[in-house]
Amino acid sequence: MATSLPFLGYGLGLRNEYYEQILEQSPAVDWFEVISENYLVQGGKALYYLDAIAERYPLVMHGVSLSIGGPHALDFDYLKQIKQLAERIQPAWVSDHLCWSRGNAHQLHDLLPLPYTEESLYYVAGRVRQVQDVLQRPLVLENVSSYVRAKADEFCEWEFLNALAHLSGCQLLLDVNNVYVSARNHGFDPWTFICNLPPQSIRQLHLAGHRDYGDYVVDTHDHPVCDPVWALYQQTLAHIGPVSTLLERDDHFPPFQELLDELAKARQLGASALAGRALCA
């Protein structure tokens, strides 16, 4: 079930805390993922560093504001800016989240869950197609962490993702940590989630840390990746083959070398999982 999608290797989320070290040290990072909204500006330091880093590393664009499932009209001005940024930095792909982040009247700035119903499915699939028409490329959508579910759900999350990929042609960014967080919170088996996704649609993986409050888990991106998520990551790679892997950190930023060490761990565990897979083939 190997995917034919391009394998970029092992990357880091580009954060301003590390701009200068990246340019000074040219670290062994295969690629960077940029938060699209941080660069939808007209000038300044962020764009300056982005252009400089784009000359040296492959980039992927990752948005947080598309609100693909929101109750509002799609923001075509926003999409136009996303497209312009893509033309500027030529990302390998453009992703956002399967969620809604804007309500009827206001921006909510969170990755809010959708009910997994037929109504949601056809609504989101139609909007994905519109977005893809504007961007002229497949949209890559990430599964989000969630803390409540709708009683109205007619599908489980992986069934919804499968159907959405089939209906819209979108591709998937599988956040392994988010699967773990939601699995803990809602009491499902994370491996059942992952092994039921269409491997040919999985374009990228995310790894991140979370906070464990015992009774529940919150996706905070402020800790190193925990052991159960590493194990799930290896199981995932062994199942679907090489997939571009991205390590995220959004708070409590450690010294850059610690992040590079954690990325080296991803690389080593990934290689080990892929080698084991080759032996079994």
Partner: protein, 262 residues
């Protein structure tokens, strides 16, 4: 419940000041084995407010320095309630904060605090404004003598100009230095302060009245270099061209100016 109605109920929960549950909405939700619906919704409610408050804390650190954490949190919380975010980027969330302070606080407190907020917002605007095409001393050196009298300039896009009626710059500086609060007082006459970005670094400085007037002539009203010299001749007589060139060199070195579009 249809998708849109469910989302509107979710939005209403997030925007509600207190995390009180709409039982009708809560009844549409399920939790997990050890995560009940109330806790799940509280996670979303807290995250919404925390994210917006974080943005204000970051963008208005000098206002926070002045007020202290608790008073700032109360002010910022009121702003979150009154002015929910309208832009997809959090970068714009603080756009109305200075105006809100004027409307929200008693006048004797609001004017200096709002001015400080405007100053901080000016840095935010300068930070990611378009680069423009700043004039350099090399550009000036290449200008043929016959072009000097008609030379017209404009601000580079990042320049923000503020009239400061209070010692807002001193408070801002103290906040950046983590120094003692210098107290707030009016300054007479009001100062003109420029905030801009040069070579990716935000800069600021105040202008003496004569220099502010000269910049107003050349930049704000679009006068040419000859008009500036004529204006300065009233004060500086035959030294006017030298004064004009001295200032112009300073402005160009600071990265404040670009050619005025025809």
């Amino acid at each position: 419940m249809r998708l849109t109605d469910w989302q509107l109920a979710f939005e209403a929960h997030l925007l509600n000041d207190a995390p009180a549950l709409d039982q009708g909405f809560a009844a549409t939700l399920r939790g997990g084995p050890s995560l009940d619906v109330d806790t799940g919704l509280a996670i979303y409610h807290n995250a919404y407010r925390a994210r917006l408050l974080d943005v204000l804390r970051h963008d208005f650190s000098a206002v926070r320095y002045w007020l202290g954490d608790d008073e700032f949190a109360a002010l910022a919380g009121a702003y979150v309630r009154r002015c929910p975010s309208e832009h997809y980027s959090l970068r714009w969330f603080g756009e109305r904060f200075a105006t809100f302070i004027l409307e929200h606080l008693a006048q004797e407190h609001s004017a200096p605090l709002a001015e400080l907020a405007r100053l901080e917002w000016a840095f935010t605007l300068a930070f990611d404004a378009p680069h423009g095409e700043p004039l350099t001393l090399a550009d000036m050196a290449e200008l043929p003598p016959q072009a000097w009298p008609g030379l017209q300039v404009a601000w580079v896009p990042s320049v923000q100009q503020l009239g400061c009626h209070f010692n807002s710059l001193a408070i801002w500086r103290a906040a950046k230095d983590n120094g003692d609060f210098p107290g707030s007082h009016a300054v007479e006459p009001a100062q003109t302060c420029l905030v801009w970005r040069h070579e990716q670094v935000c800069r600021y400085r105040t202008l003496e009245p004569a220099e502010a007037s000269a910049l107003a002539t050349m930049v704000t009203t679009g006068g040419c270099f000859a008009e500036l010299c004529a204006q300065l001749a009233v004060t500086y007589a035959e030294g006017a061209p030298l004064q004009a060139v001295t200032w112009l060199k300073q402005w160009v070195q600071d990265g404040l100016l670009q050619h005025r579009a025809p």
